[in-house]
Symmetry: C2
């Protein structure tokens, strides 16, 4: 089967998270990703804990299946190699501060003259335009400025960050979308494009309800802990051994819940008779529910909710999520192929399941720094 | 300028969030999105608060610029219209439970026979395969099962949900990537594809550090509030009027921070002399920093950090984020065009900035239910 991006060559100059997250997506879709790292140190994440046999599990998960060559883009011999790679490439990705690629002579305006079909993807903290275009950013900086921290955390409590690095990851996903759109477009016009993704922009784009609410009412929402701001009961609840979710989104589901918990009279109790009343008495209702659910473990309540037809879920830690039967059935945690004598790692599977793309049962090995230099040079020579 | 998806027709049968989020992305890239809604009620989010002149701001933000036609896919006359639309479509999106489209006669295997170029995109809670394929899910159900709640929240406290609905949104983004990849592939092979996205899968895919850490060490990480788990100081801090971020990722930045706060001796204090020592004394250091920063407002400290060269940010609520000069310069909050006499709304701008895609200064109007029926039927007739 020919994969969607079969034969597409991606030169990936990015490091850490947003850019490598994007090139993983392109690789999952069939592209060949050549990671171009700085000599000696390589990608910063090679030093991110935890380690196995001196190799970073974090690096391995984000770079499995990619090739690595170390190039100093200021050194003439390495620049010559990079330029031969550019002649073969469909996509180049970079996450330098704006201006750095221009100073190297590889800015988009330079490259479009010599490589009009090349697609140039940039991801940066604040983008390549605007008053703060040049400033550095980190995941937490854009989580803070973009508003997601202000709606995440306990009600009335201090802001917390989203535990997954959505400041980087969402930007990497938008970059992948821009690159794919540019490939569609190039298929029609023959011309490349520049894609300019800002981490801060990407945070605004995921504020589905808070942006609409704030612009319509003038009042920005705050955090609501684990509960839905306008549906009750729709939150986490304590069992004897941990938390689980009850998502009773309407009166019929609330009736099933009340019946299941042995409290059918809740349905006619004026404090709980409508969603509006339940929202007004949300803390009271939570205590009444937990007075029951604290008596037994989560699995008991999950089974009871499922038989009652009330949407539910365990709040799983990552060890539990990895062992979740549905996660396993969907091939969402896969081994990273081991190099001979090297450590074994695991990584997330490909979430894009397509009828025209085999769902791989493992990811290729994570490359040691510069491990593919000879193979890449040989390929360039063979291609002439 | 011809946009990347110029001329692409998307039939969008989805409602609420994940699917409409995907079709917004495709629309931003130039596709024409025809929203096919159930008669009378339409998309559930038409009833989501807040409202202006009886119209939902939430619906408007997610559906601006789309067309609407109401069709009952069980009624012969409406099925005939849907089938005429299928003849013109490039993409169909649905978020029914697995099996519903098959019972309507519009499953992927049916459609591929009659429309081999059609790209079929499905998004569901758990996907179209696996033991729980048929179960319903909500954003919070997959946030809980997929692990993101277990790493989000105050240290040692109860789990909280991510304030933005990443359970839906990330799935919608992966669906957009799959559709775009299928368009690239169809450009080469002439054949369509099915894309099957699960909200739960998508949550696993964004667990960049916790999945790697858990599989490498066996120990799942817990929540760490607003601080980075292994870099100090890298967290939120209290000023007199709110929270701000200090992201001092290495010794040099810590020295600049200490100097800026008037405490140069911190650098040689054995409690804080290295990142490891600072991590061990993270709570002590936080109190020392806040003993200073609580005295003055955020803007004072942001200016001081910036002049010292320490990455920083305000923790902004959505009202502040919308007014952020960089957000404005990047066109990331745009008006939704007003229908005559209709309410005015705003929505997020397009975060995919491309040299080959004009950055629109406004989104098209949000459609009333079935508002485009006549225009769509006229277009079908004109096309023959």
């Amino acid at each position: 089967m020919t994969t969607p991006l079969d034969g597409i060559i991606v030169l990936d100059l990015t490091h850490v998270l947003a850019g490598p997250f994007c090139s993983t997506i392109l690789g999952d879709l069939g592209a060949r990703v050549i990671k171009i790292e700085r000599p000696v140190l390589g990608d910063d994440t090679r030093e991110f804990p935890p380690f196995k046999q001196g190799e970073s599990a974090y690096f391995a998960a984000l770079n499995a299946g990619k090739q690595s060559i170390a190039l100093d883009l200021k050194a003439p011999a390495d620049r010559a190699i990079f330029e031969r790679l550019l002649d073969r490439a469909d996509v180049v990705l970079e996450n330098y501060r704006p201006g750095v690629m221009e100073r190297l002579g590889y800015g988009f305006e330079d490259l479009r003259k010599t490589h009009p079909r090349l697609i140039y993807g940039a991801v940066s903290g604040f983008g390549h335009t605007g008053p703060e275009a040049g400033k550095p950013a980190y995941d937490m900086v854009v989580q803070a400025r973009g508003g997601v921290m202000s709606i995440t955390g306990p009600e009335g409590g201090p802001p917390v960050r989203v535990g997954a690095s959505v400041g980087d990851i969402v930007a990497g996903m938008y970059l992948a979308q821009g690159i794919l759109a540019a490939l569609v477009q190039r298929g029609r016009t023959g011309e490349g494009a520049k894609v300019d993704i800002a981490m801060l922009d990407s945070q605004l784009a995921i504020q589905e309800h808070s942006l609409a609410t704030t612009t319509a009412t003038g009042v920005p929402p705050g955090p609501t802990g684990a509960r839905h701001p306008s549906i009750t009961p729709f939150s986490t609840y304590r069992a004897s051994d941990g938390f689980f979710v009850i998502a009773a989104g309407n009166d019929a589901l609330f009736a099933k819940l009340a019946q299941g918990l042995g409290c059918p009279d809740w349905v006619t109790d004026p404090r709980f008779a409508s969603n509006g009343a339940r929202c007004e008495n949300v803390h009271m209702l939570k205590r009444l529910i937990e007075a029951i659910t604290l008596e037994k473990p989560r699995d008991h309540w999950i089974a009871l909710m499922e038989s009652a037809g009330v949407p539910t879920a365990r709040v799983q830690n990552m060890a539990e999520a990895i062992e979740d039967p549905q996660v396993k059935a969907r091939n969402m945690v896969v081994p990273v192929e081991q190099r001979e004598g090297g450590p074994s790692f695991k990584a997330a599977g490909n979430p894009i399941k397509m009828s025209t793309l085999p769902d791989r049962q493992a990811r290729g090995p994570a490359p040691l720094l510069d491990a593919d230099r000879e193979a890449i040079l040989g390929w360039l020579d063979a291609a002439g």
